[in-house]
């Protein structure tokens, strides 16, 4: 019974982990050795003495709050359910908010016994809801941020000179004189470098500081920021403006290197809006044109896509604009044939849809392009209909990072306070930011001790957003409040707390800051004001009726006089945000390292993306996982990086994902991939013109969760036969067609019967007589391949990461995967995303081959796994035509994912080794409703059976009927486009039943007579025929 230790020492162990002397001291003074079992075994302890000790321990526990569970003591308001008294094991949900790049990500956090375990979109918040009031979607990164909270690599203590452990006391002793000295100099010589903070509290504190110390230097830096967009809006509107697209209104969407569904800060809402005009596949379907210099997920679902070079975007836009009377000088007016075709189609559709169309350009494009796009939208009559303009909130910005660096170098700035961020890693290389810091006193606040920490005099651990109060504003300015769900595990501080400290606020804890911003006294008796505040906490955002948004901009818009002419280069470079590491800040997150890139399916690595044509010219080859290394030279800087031949990559463009090759991203994130920031300087922050690429002669082994598009000729012919152009519109795997075809022939996807169930040789193996029959429908038309569902599933179902070497062996564990198929021309392929969960076959091939009956059917039609019955023969996986079963080849939860060799042998009883080998802090993220699987057992998607049963129990106890939509699977809930629908097939009014009856619905590999409960809806696209 070793594992049934009576020690309840989560918190104490964490503090041990923190290991700071003061915490040690703290824990020692507080019955650190209190252990009833041990005391009972001591012969000298009588029963009476034991009772005395125990009651003393209880009393102490009660007084110090650290005795057993750490219930949040503050005045939080749970989102939906709050038991009259907290019941252990009953999850609670709170509305909170994360902030990424100065934009709020509204969330609902689920917490068990005081530990948050899951983050989902806030279903009431306009920027995260997908079904108003019922379902909210959160993107990949926000969902994964729960893992950061429990990351053992998180910064746990104040560090001095990069590595020396120190304490808050020591830091205060050093920092307070700096603050005290500000008054004399009005802040001169001191700079704050921060990431965008949108919240009213941060705004309030920044203004206060600025008033108090007007000479303080402010710099806001994000490696992939919106500075060009803002500069462009200054040209067109005379003031900084941000754009809100209404993809639900627009019939025609023209995107020039824009990725509204993928990396835009508001992409969840945009994806939801976009899907609302797609999923019906009728005349209301919108049309998306996309000319882009990378292969983004938006481009991959666009109806007409033109891969092009960064230097061609301005010409395309100018050509379109010139058709609407906007003449600009400059730019290269001659268009190639494919460009002309694209522009003509765009112009024809824009002409036909004035006022119901919108043109969007990527935020990284040059300001003159941004301005021209705004002018074009204005001319097209989009303003106020498909496009809203809002004044951009302004920070007290003194200069940009180049200016800051020169001031640091010149010695004008002697003290630099870096509030979150990692400029040493991600600032433009030519600035040599790390060297500039040498002459200044640098204080770094961060969730992790990163590259910047190493060259800072002080590092202060930052509180995770689930550990502190905060507020943030959504893309349109709607304010949300972040409620903490747990005390700071390592006593971190928030940026606002540091700002409040500088501002000289009387109370500098995050709670007081937010309460002060909202003018609330948390200890005051309940009154209307308090009630309103509680309403805000409950909903997670300020009620829309009273909300202050960013003010609308209705001024005149002027086109830029001229466009910069871009020289056309043989090879151009495009720096792009990574889908799961973002700009590198999510590199320490294991879930994100193992989240397949939607397009390349790469994990644990990045690569230079190169088109087939360029690769052939440069004699670059991909052979399975093994690929050639290339040396990229750009403006005198060089980088060796593996090449990845990507179908659809624009010819002449090398795509370089940012966020890799970090040297100090903890155990998980360090030395993963190649640091593409090394090529990036102020001379080209987003694109690099005139790059050269050569083979180094070395090869490199990448890890992908799906095999490379370029297979041997036999394999390639097999793929083509199944999903290529040869495949029939009613093929077994992917069925797709255009809207025109579908309207002309509504049963085109039903031509091939799925093996008529009416004609069966044998009786069905099981009769499903239960009132419920669970089923799922997955719409390929609206799936954008964003992987939010994968992250949701990973968090919900305690799915481990396995590490690069295991992915190379194809042992990744994700229960839902997104299959990506290319079709047609390798230079401009069509792309289909197909999420694949367990198909929950009624006639399941896996069940009949399991010798121990570890996979069985329940009466509601779920194919369920009995983990403790499974002995791991893996026959079920062999017989599963969908290969959705995942096997614990090793004890992946306790294994080190960065270990390149086999894990060390364990000497524990294998059935119980996890208990000893998973660090306690990592165990905290586990969902207690889902078994943590040990090694040697098979596992797979369960349609979130724990959610089904939890909801059923609650409904049954309440005496209510289960309604359609009451039960959401994790993937369905996370999906921003509602591509996944789950429900009861016995209920003819259920959404899933209706979708199963659709003319677009088909079974994956239906010919095998597996009779899946999953059905797919064929992909319908709406390309311009022109």
């Amino acid at each position: 019974m070793k594992h049934h230790s009576t020690k309840r020492e989560y918190w104490r162990s964490l503090e041990h982990l923190a290991g700071s002397p003061d915490l040690k001291q703290f824990s020692e003074g507080e019955f650190a050795t209190y252990e009833p079992d041990g005391m009972l075994q001591m012969p000298s302890v009588t029963r009476r003495r034991f009772m005395q000790l125990m009651s003393a321990g209880m009393a102490l526990a009660g007084m110090t709050l650290t005795g057993c569970r750490r219930w949040p003591e503050e005045h939080l308001v749970p989102y939906t359910k709050r038991p009259s008294d907290r019941s252990p094991g009953v999850p609670e949900q709170y509305a909170t908010v994360a902030e990424l790049s100065g934009v709020a990500v509204p969330l609902i956090a689920t917490s068990y016994d005081g530990r948050p375990i899951k983050l989902e979109g806030n279903p009431k918040h306009p920027w995260s809801q997908t079904v108003a009031g019922k379902r909210g979607s959160a993107d990949l990164l926000s969902q994964a941020s729960i893992l950061d909270l429990y990351d053992p690599d998180r910064s746990t203590m104040v560090l001095k000179d990069g590595t020396t452990p120190s304490s808050f006391e020591e830091f205060t002793a050093a920092f307070q004189p700096i603050i005290d000295g500000l008054a004399a100099t009005q802040g001169d010589g001191v700079a704050i470098l921060m990431q965008p903070l949108s919240g009213p509290s941060a705004g309030r504190l920044m203004s206060a500081i600025q008033q108090k110390y007007p000479k303080l230097y402010w710099c806001v830096y994000e490696p992939v920021g919106r500075e060009n967009e803002i500069a462009g809006s200054r040209i067109a509107c005379g003031q900084p403006v941000r754009q809100i697209l209404h993809l639900d209104v627009a019939n025609v969407v023209v995107l020039l290197d824009a990725d509204p569904l993928g990396t835009h800060p508001a992409h969840t809402r945009y994806a939801s809006d976009w899907a609302s005009r797609r999923r019906n596949c009728d005349a209301s379907m919108s049309r998306v044109y996309c000319a882009e210099t990378a292969l983004t997920i938006t481009g991959s679902v666009a109806d007409n896509r033109l891969p092009t070079k960064p230097s061609r975007i301005s010409s395309l836009l100018a050509a379109i604009a010139s058709n609407f009377g906007i003449k600009v000088t400059g730019g290269d007016a001659t268009l190639a044939a494919d460009e002309k075709k694209f522009v003509d189609a765009v112009v024809a559709d824009l002409n036909a849809n004035k006022g119901t169309s919108v043109v969007a350009v990527g935020s990284h494009l040059a300001p003159d392009i941004q301005a021209l796009a705004l002018a074009l939208n204005s001319t097209l009559g989009s303003m106020g209909k498909t496009l809203e303009l809002r004044s951009e909130p302004m920070y007290p910005i003194t200069g940009d990072i180049s200016d800051l660096t020169s001031k640091l170098k010149s010695g004008a700035i002697k003290t630099l306070l870096i509030l979150d961020g990692n400029p040493v890693y991600d600032a433009p290389t030519d600035l040599n930011f790390a060297a500039a810091l040498k002459s200044a006193t640098t204080i770094h606040l961060g969730l992790y001790a990163n590259e910047t920490t190493a060259v800072s005099q002080w590092h202060v651990p930052q509180a995770h957003y689930l550990e502190a109060w905060n507020d943030a504003r959504a893309w349109d300015g709607l304010t949300s409040i972040a409620q903490p769900l747990i005390f700071p595990l390592y006593g971190g501080k928030t940026p606002s707390e540091i700002l409040a400290w500088i501002a000289g606020e009387s109370a500098t804890d995050s709670s007081s800051i937010v309460h002060k911003t909202f003018n609330i006294d948390p200890n005051a008796p309940m009154d209307d004001k308090m009630l309103n505040f509680r309403q805000i906490l409950l909903a997670g955002f300020v009620p829309l009726a009273t909300a202050e948004m960013y003010p609308s901009f209705n001024g005149t818009i002027t086109a830029p006089a001229s466009l910069t002419t871009w020289a056309n280069n043989a090879l151009e470079v495009r720096f792009q945000l990574d889908h799961s590491r973002y700009d590198g800040r999510f590199a320490p997150n294991g879930w994100m390292q193992e989240m397949p890139d939607p397009i390349t399916k790469l994990v644990w690595d990045n690569a230079a993306l190169i088109s087939k044509k360029d690769a052939d010219e440069l004699d670059i080859h991909n052979d399975g996982n093994t690929t050639d290394m290339v040396r990229i030279t750009l403006n005198g800087r060089t980088l060796d990086i593996p090449a990845y031949i990507l179908p659809g990559q624009p010819i002449g463009v090398i795509g370089l994902p940012l966020g890799f090759g970090r040297s100090a991203a903890g155990h998980i994130g360090s030395d993963v991939g190649s640091n593409t920031y090394l090529l990036r300087g102020t001379d080209g922050m987003y694109t690099g013109l005139g790059a050269t690429v050569e083979k180094t002669g070395d090869t490199y082994d990448l890890a992908m969760t799906q095999n490379h598009y370029l297979l041997d000729s036999i394999g390639f012919s097999g793929v083509e036969e199944r999903v290529g152009e040869e495949a029939h519109t009613s093929a077994d795997i992917i069925r797709d067609g255009t809207l025109t075809e579908y309207q002309a022939d509504p049963v085109m996807f039903q031509r091939k019967a799925d093996g008529s169930l009416a004609l069966q040789l044998f009786d069905p193996p099981m009769q499903f007589t239960d009132p419920h029959a669970w089923g799922m429908a997955i719409d390929l038309t609206s799936c954008i391949g964003c992987h939010a569902c994968v992250a949701a599933c990973q968090a919900e179902n305690n799915i481990p990461i396995v590490g690069k070497d295991q992915v190379q062996k194809n042992r990744q564990m994700h229960w839902i995967r997104i299959d990506r198929y290319f079709k047609g021309d390798v230079d401009a392929p069509e792309i289909v995303f197909q999420p694949v969960t367990c198909q929950q076959c009624e006639n399941a091939p896996c069940e009949q081959v399991c010798p121990v009956g570890a996979t069985m059917h329940d009466t509601e039609g779920l194919n369920v796994m009995v983990y403790n019955r499974c002995i791991g023969t893996r026959y079920c996986s062999n017989n599963c035509p969908y290969k959705v079963r995942r096997f614990n080849y090793l004890d992946f939860h306790s294994q080190d994912p960065r270990h390149d060799k086999y894990p060390m042998p364990w000497l524990n009883i294998p059935d119980q080794q996890q208990l000893d080998t998973i660090p306690e802090v990592k165990r905290m993220v586990f969902n207690p409703d889902v078994t943590v699987r040990m090694r040697g057992v098979m596992e797979k998607c369960s349609y979130c059976v724990q959610r089904i049963h939890n909801t059923q129990i609650v409904k049954r106890n309440a005496g209510e009927e289960l309604a359609d939509g009451d039960i959401l699977t994790a993937c369905q809930q996370a999906c921003p486009t509602q591509a996944i629908t789950f429900g009861d097939l016995n209920d003819q009014n259920s959404a899933v039943y209706q979708l199963h009856q659709s003319n677009r619905s088909y079974n994956l590999l239906g010919d095998l007579n597996t009779r899946p409960r999953n059905r797919y809806l064929a992909k319908v696209s709406n390309p311009s025929e022109a």
């Binding site: 399975g624 799906q706 095999n707 041997d712 036999i714 394999g715 012919s717 097999g718 793929v719 036969e721 199944r722 295991q806 062996k809 194809n810 042992r811 990744q812 995967r817 299959d819 990506r820 198929y821 197909q834 694949v836 091939p845 069940e847 009949q848 081959v849 399991c850 010798p851 121990v852 009956g853 019955r869 499974c870 002995i871 791991g872 023969t873 893996r874 026959y875 996986s877 062999n878 017989n879 035509p881 969908y882 290969k883 096997f887 614990n888 080849y889 090793l890 086999y902 894990p903 060390m904 042998p905 364990w906 000497l907 294998p910 040990m934 090694r935 040697g936 994956l1004 590999l1005 095998l1008």
Partner: protein, 500 residues
């Protein structure tokens, strides 16, 4: 009289000694050469157990024992770490573990085939080789039985495959072919062991009687079950042997048919084929005979068994190897034909991929070893050259291992959804475990050679001319129309024994 007769036999035999493989239909080739009489046969066979074995035995045993140690180390590592130390992945959930299982089970076929089916068909030449073919069967089945046990994810729980009564009333899932395997292999192992042991009893008794050490007398005595060679014993023994032969005969066909169901009942293209049961049985016999040859050829050289396991025996086995090799080749072609004939795109692709895809080298290794190279056996000269025969048999062994690799691995690497395709590469643990299984097999086999009668003494003696009542000792020899015996037909110039 006795001396004279044996002299004559020795003389006659010596005329045919160099080559008892002649196809001359006028007389039967002797099954024991070298002029051995009963005592000679016993001496020859018992020599190994009673005297120090040749140096080669020690060398072979040392190598085998080291390989066995390697196997133990690999299994220990596997238990402590997880089956992930092998190269298996998700499309290829079965790798070397099951390849080796099917390989060893297949080898285990020849023994019972030789013992049971050839016994029922009165193929008397089987007596020279049946003992160690049976032993090899037992050892191969031990190797085979080990693999499913260690290949499972939780290798401390293989007993859950057995229908053990328990308080939860949990039974195995009887629709699973893996469970059928448990029964088929279990039955086969039991019957083979019994058959082998029953055959051994009179010979163990012989060893007991010749033993000089107390320990040997006790041990052999215990296993001889009090055999005293009485007519009653012989009668019971022969009935039992016949019954077991009848019982074992269907098992020869059933066990590998059931093993093939593991694949045939699955719906994976490349597995899902009705030809599998006969195809697997033919392959198993082919592979089994190859192993018997591989063991017999060095054994007769090293242990002085050349007079008992004669060239005639090798020749016969070579013929069987050729015949079964042709059956296997026919199955390969049928498989390909059927996949194209049924037109299922997945089936067609699987076979294209086998022949031309990333594992084409494995396919063509298999084809060469199992179909092309055995064609050499059409030549009697090659069949009679033990070295060449041994090399061909080794190729057949490799070919049969590759056959299982091709069936299991290449089918799994590329199934229905191209997104799940993934290749399989073995790890060092895979390779060491395979090597180690040979260590286990050879260790057991060498111990068998050292301590047990490697030839069925009692049976061999029954097919020697001396054993026949109408032979030189019997009353029949007095008859005018006497012909020496049906086994031995000296040419007309040879002295007629009856005239003496």
């Amino acid at each position: 009289m006795t001396t004279e007769a044996s002299d004559i036999y020795r003389q006659i035999a010596s005329e045919h000694d160099a080559d008892n493989t002649t196809g001359d239909p006028r007389f039967r080739a002797p099954l024991v050469v070298g002029g051995l009489d009963f005592a000679g046969v016993t001496e020859t066979v018992a020599h190994l157990a009673e005297y120090k074995p040749p140096k080669a035995w020690y060398v072979a045993f040392a190598i085998s024992l080291s390989a066995l140690g390697l196997l133990g180390a690999c299994i220990g590592y596997l238990f402590l770490t997880g089956v992930g130390v092998w190269g298996n992945n998700i499309p290829v959930a079965w790798g070397f573990g099951i390849v080796n299982f099917v390989f060893w089970v297949g080898i285990g076929h020849a023994g019972t085939l030789i013992s049971a089916i050839l016994f029922l068909f009165r193929q008397n030449w089987r007596t020279g080789i049946n003992r160690f073919a049976e032993a090899m069967t037992i050892f191969a089945v031990i190797c085979a039985g080990m693999f499913p046990g260690i290949h499972i994810g939780r290798p401390w729980l293989p007993y859950w495959l057995f229908p053990l009564p328990n308080q939860m009333e949990m039974w195995p899932q009887f629709r699973s072919p893996l469970l059928w395997d448990v029964f088929a292999v279990g039955t086969y192992a039991t019957v083979s062991l019994l058959f082998w042991y029953v055959g051994l009893i009179p010979d163990i008794a012989t060893f007991r009687d010749r033993s000089t050490s107390k320990v040997k007398q006790l041990v052999y005595g215990f296993f001889a079950l009090g055999w005293n060679g009485s007519s009653r014993h012989w009668h019971r023994y022969e009935r039992a042997y016949l019954l077991l032969a009848a019982l074992a005969t269907p098992l020869v066909l059933s066990v590998h048919s059931v093993v093939s169901f593991d694949f045939a009942t699955a719906q994976l293209p490349g597995w899902h084929a009705t030809i599998f049961p006969p195809y697997f049985v033919a392959g198993a016999i082919y592979g089994g005979f190859a192993v018997v040859l591989c063991l017999a050829i060095p054994a007769r050289e090293l242990f002085g068994l050349k007079d008992i396991i004669t060239k005639r025996h090798l020749d016969n086995m070579g013929r069987i190897l050729l015949a079964t090799g042709l059956m296997v080749g026919y199955s390969y072609l049928t498989e390909i034909f059927v996949s194209f004939y049924n037109g299922n795109q997945y089936e067609v692709f699987t076979f294209k991929n086998r022949v031309l895809g990333p594992y084409a080298w494995a396919y063509w290794t298999m084809m060469s070893c199992n179909v092309f190279i055995p064609q050499l056996l059409w030549s009697g000269k090659i069949r009679n050259n033990s070295l060449l025969l041994w090399i061909i048999a080794m190729f057949a062994n490799a070919g049969m291992w590759f056959e299982r690799f091709v069936i299991i691995v290449t089918s799994l690497t590329r199934d229905f959804l191209p997104t799940s395709w993934h290749n399989f590469w073995p790890t060092w643990v895979d390779l060491c475990t395979l090597t180690g299984s040979f260590g286990l097999f050879m260790t057991l086999f060498l111990l068998f050679c050292r301590y047990l009668p490697t030839v069925a003494l009692a049976e061999v003696k029954t097919v020697m001319p001396q054993a026949h009542a109408h032979g030189p000792h019997g009353p029949d020899s007095q008859r005018a129309d006497y012909r020496p015996d049906e086994h031995y037909n000296p040419d007309k110039d040879a002295p007629r024994l009856s005239n003496r």
